[in-house]
Symmetry: C2
Subunit: 212 residues, 2 copies
DNA sequence: AAAAAAAATTGACTGCAGTCGAGATTTTTA
DNA sequence: TAAAAATCTCGACTGCAGTCAATTTTTTTT
């Protein structure tokens, strides 16, 4: 690695480190780029040669971090557990991770779910990688006869992802406290698997109570 | 109505009108508060006595507008149509409305789904009103035996809302084009009703193909 | 109807995000 | 290894969001 590349890596890290520290300490809005640059020992302009905008710094941090988590999660998850269990583990881990810092999480979710047009490409790549990790889990569940095969993988994955977003929203709007997240997620995931329609054409005794 | 209240109403309207016109014409970021104030014939400070922030102007516009749409929708919707049909009508109308202006819609969705802590209360009130409008529709579907009764109204409503958010996200990330929205929404809503699990314990011939 | 109180309006001001051209540093060329 | 080219660094500068104390307008009191 050349001197230049070496330095760039160090500088980028220093900026990221300084930014995260200051953001955590004083809040995102209360931290100026100039403070970050001073703390990282570089000029203000240099920060902008590593990150396009202030939001980008958070994005850079969260994305890198999440990618690590995803890889770990999928590796460590028990491939024989039920789809429900596996999805719960994955999305609860993701929830805990993203909400470690309320402010970062909010900015990250906003940008992830409703990205600026300029960031769409970037964001989709990350999401695609994620889906590629989830697909084998769903496929295995299909092979076990746990999940219908007449639905696209992407759609099945999308249902869980969609409920994850909903739950994040409920947390940010204060409708769910941190403790209520896990049971709520389980209920909703269960309902997604079971279906919302009344099971009229099945024997009534087969209906299980799912809601609390 | 006193002279003062009269004037306030007029001024607020003038600001909103000027803002929407300029935002639409030149884009949100390219429009400054000062331009808006000049165009509305007031001082810059006055704008801030009617709206707390720049984003608030968009919010004020969208919220008022949406509330009208909601009321109309629920009044005009056919109470005897299936839940699927009704939900599709409602959320497709909402989709079309929110995405009339791509930029406004994005800002509105970000703030609605992941609101700033300061805006949570405000936002929840609007959402609650919305849910109150949807509940009777779901209740009627339950009475018709279309939807399970062992699930909370809020949960059932939440499933559809969650898929609506997902679809908005897919539109903003370019995964779905405008024409693809309606069929995608129908597929996902259907799947939510039917459930994702394989119907192993039902007679196989009862399984319907839902995916395209 | 005049004085006092309350509320609304104003634009100069502050602080920060993001830009840009000049200068420093590293790499490539000769 | 010196000159030329490419890349990185910098902080002064621009433009705008949001604040605030002074002023004007309306309402209430006497």
């Amino acid at each position: 690695m050349s001197i230049r590349e070496e330095k760039k890596k160090k500088t980028k890290n220093a900026i990221l480190q300084a930014a995260i520290t200051l953001f955590t300490q004083n809040g995102y809005d209360q931290t100026s780029i100039e403070e970050i640059s001073k703390s990282a020992g570089v000029g203000k302009g240099t920060v902008y040669s590593y990150f396009q905008t202030k939001k980008d710094i958070i994005k850079g941090f969260c994305e890198y971090d999440l990618e690590q988590i995803h890889l770990e999660l999928v590796k460590n998850s028990n491939p024989d557990a039920s789809l429900l269990e596996q999805m719960l583990t994955i999305y609860m881990t993701e929830f805990k991770h993203v909400t470690r810092n309320r402010e970062f999480g909010r900015l990250f979710m906003r940008e992830s779910v409703f990205p600026d047009d300029a960031d769409v490409k970037d964001h989709c790549e990350l999401e695609d990688k994620y889906f590629q990790l989830l697909f084998p889990i769903v496929t295995r569940a299909q092979d076990r006869g746990e999940v219908r095969k007449d639905a696209e993988l992407l759609h099945i994955t999308a249902h869980f992802y969609s409920l994850y977003i909903l739950i994040m929203s409920a947390w940010y709007t204060g409708r769910l406290s941190t403790e209520e997240i896990e049971p709520a997620m389980e209920t909703l995931f269960r309902q997604a698997l079971e279906g919302l329609k009344a099971n009229t054409d099945i024997q009534p005794q087969h209906i299980e109570k799912i809601d609390e």
